[in-house]
């Protein structure tokens, strides 16, 4: 969830901007190191892909619909650093073009979505690489990872809000993680279905990214 301006106080804003700027500059360097001159075109179209993937609507109970968030999928398919780079670009465009998330809270939104969203789920998949496991174990690892990639940023968002003194710590944490546990379940189902189809058509794409450290 994107935090608008007005909710965070200056110390939280500075803290989040500091962490995000540091992480993303490292991520840019690592991505550039791996992809070289191919980085700009490849990461550029991948960012646009995440954007387009968020356009697909999934019907959920009672007339509401949800969409993929994609942090985990980006990390799984492209790698942690590449995923962070792509998600950072997505969050920045959402802020500057769509007013989704504030200008001063951009640091916090980057921290939650582009950083925590990409690193929080991937370690489980690293523990169960595709190469030497049964497919079902790999897929359930992916589902858990996708679920975590939604719930942990939500908890971080609650933390940032209560650090700013606008919301009580306990209720916010329970409410945010509670709501996002459900959103995360949807994310997990969609992500698994996506991975299954990629594995059917171009398993090489999955194998390269899911098994490299």
């Amino acid at each position: 969830m994107h935090i608008p301006d007005g909710f965070l106080d200056p110390k939280t804003i500075l803290l989040c901007y500091g962490i995000s700027a540091g992480w993303i500059s490292v991520a840019l360097k690592r991505t550039k190191g791996r992809l070289g001159e191919k980085m700009v075109p490849m990461m550029g179209v991948m960012g646009a892909f995440i954007f387009a993937a968020q356009m697909f609507n999934f019907p959920i109970a009672g007339g509401t619909s949800g969409h993929l968030l994609g942090s985990f999928l980006a990390a799984l398919l492209l790698g942690v650093w590449e995923g962070s780079t792509v998600m950072a670009a997505v969050v920045i465009i959402q802020c500057l073009v769509f007013q989704d998330g504030g200008l001063l809270s951009l640091g916090a939104n980057l921290l939650n979505i582009a950083i925590l969203g990409t690193i929080s789920g991937l370690w489980i998949v690293k523990l169960s690489p595709l190469r030497n496991q049964r497919k079902r174990i790999f897929l359930s690892a992916c589902g858990t990872g996708a679920w975590l990639s939604v719930v942990i940023p939500a908890a971080a968002c609650a933390g940032e809000l209560s650090l700013s003194g606008v919301a009580p710590w306990k209720t916010t944490l329970i409410a945010m993680t509670g709501i996002h546990a459900l959103i995360g379940a949807v994310e997990a189902i969609i992500t698994i279905l996506i991975i299954v189809i990629i594995d059917k058509i171009r398993p090489d794409l999955l194998r390269i990214s899911a098994t490299t450290p």
């Binding site: 960012g47 009580p168 209720t171």
Partner: protein
């Protein structure tokens, strides 16, 4: 196809549209910061900021209704936060009531989103990027953003085509079947995007791409604009000083 909603009014012609993007970004940041630093009870100061934003909107010739509509983006978040503030207040300062804090936050975030909407609907995204680049944001990252922005339209088109095909194939299917048939489309879109990325890269290579992208530099800071910008910042500072001395 239909994605004119992206930044619909950013190509109008007004003094604000013509201004240097660097200047606009810096002023927007300064403005949002001073809105944020207002104490929650200072309604007079909020009113002044509202007047400044309204007059900027009029000068920019962007339809006010459009800006109002875009600013409704923050409503879900406000509802969420209001639930927290109105029902449980352990650990918050005791001198303010939950309703008071809530009012302050709502006004602040609303004014801030108006400023942000005004910035994005008076500045085309490529010029925002040019401005950011001149403000010393990493060049590779700026290139990546501009590349991505260009491809959003193409891939959203592709996504819409896939969705239309799916809808015509499974008219009236149940929820679970719809989910099961929509998710693979994202997988297919990923594969197509990956292949497209490879093709774009080799097309660029065959045209002599060597890792650097050269662009024409069209932005320059005019004296008059700088003066207007400084005047605006002075007005904001004055509002802050005057309303706060009034409150004392």
């Amino acid at each position: 196809m239909q994605h004119s909603y992206l930044d619909k009014y950013s190509n109008l012609n007004s003094p604000i549209h013509r201004a240097d993007p660097r200047l606009k970004i810096l002023i927007a940041l300064f403005f949002v910061l001073s809105i944020l630093l207002t104490s929650s009870g200072n309604l007079l100061e909020f009113a002044f900021y509202g007047v400044i934003i309204a007059s900027l909107v009029i000068v920019s010739r962007v339809p006010p209704l459009f800006i109002l509509k875009r600013s409704l983006m923050i409503i879900p978040f406000i509802v969420l936060i209001s639930l927290f503030l109105l029902f449980d207040r352990t650990g918050l300062s005791a001198e303010y009531s939950g309703g008071f804090l809530f009012r302050g936050i709502v006004i602040k975030s609303y004014l801030a989103i108006l400023v942000l909407t005004l910035l994005s609907s008076t500045t085309p995204f490529p010029s925002i990027l040019q401005g950011l680049q001149r403000l010393k944001i990493s060049k590779v990252f700026i290139l990546l953003l501009s590349f991505m922005y260009r491809y959003i339209y193409i891939l959203v088109d592709e996504a819409m085509r896939l969705t239309r095909g799916k809808r015509s194939r499974e008219f009236g299917a149940g929820k679970w079947r719809q989910i099961k048939s929509t998710a693979p489309l994202i997988g297919i879109l990923f594969i197509r995007t990956y292949e497209r990325g490879e093709m774009v890269y080799s097309a660029m290579c065959s045209r002599g791409f060597d890792g650097t992208i050269r662009t024409l530099n069209t932005i320059r800071l005019r004296m008059a604009e700088t003066m207007v910008g400084l005047a605006l910042i002075t007005i904001i500072v004055l509002v802050k000083l005057i309303t706060n001395s009034h409150a004392l």
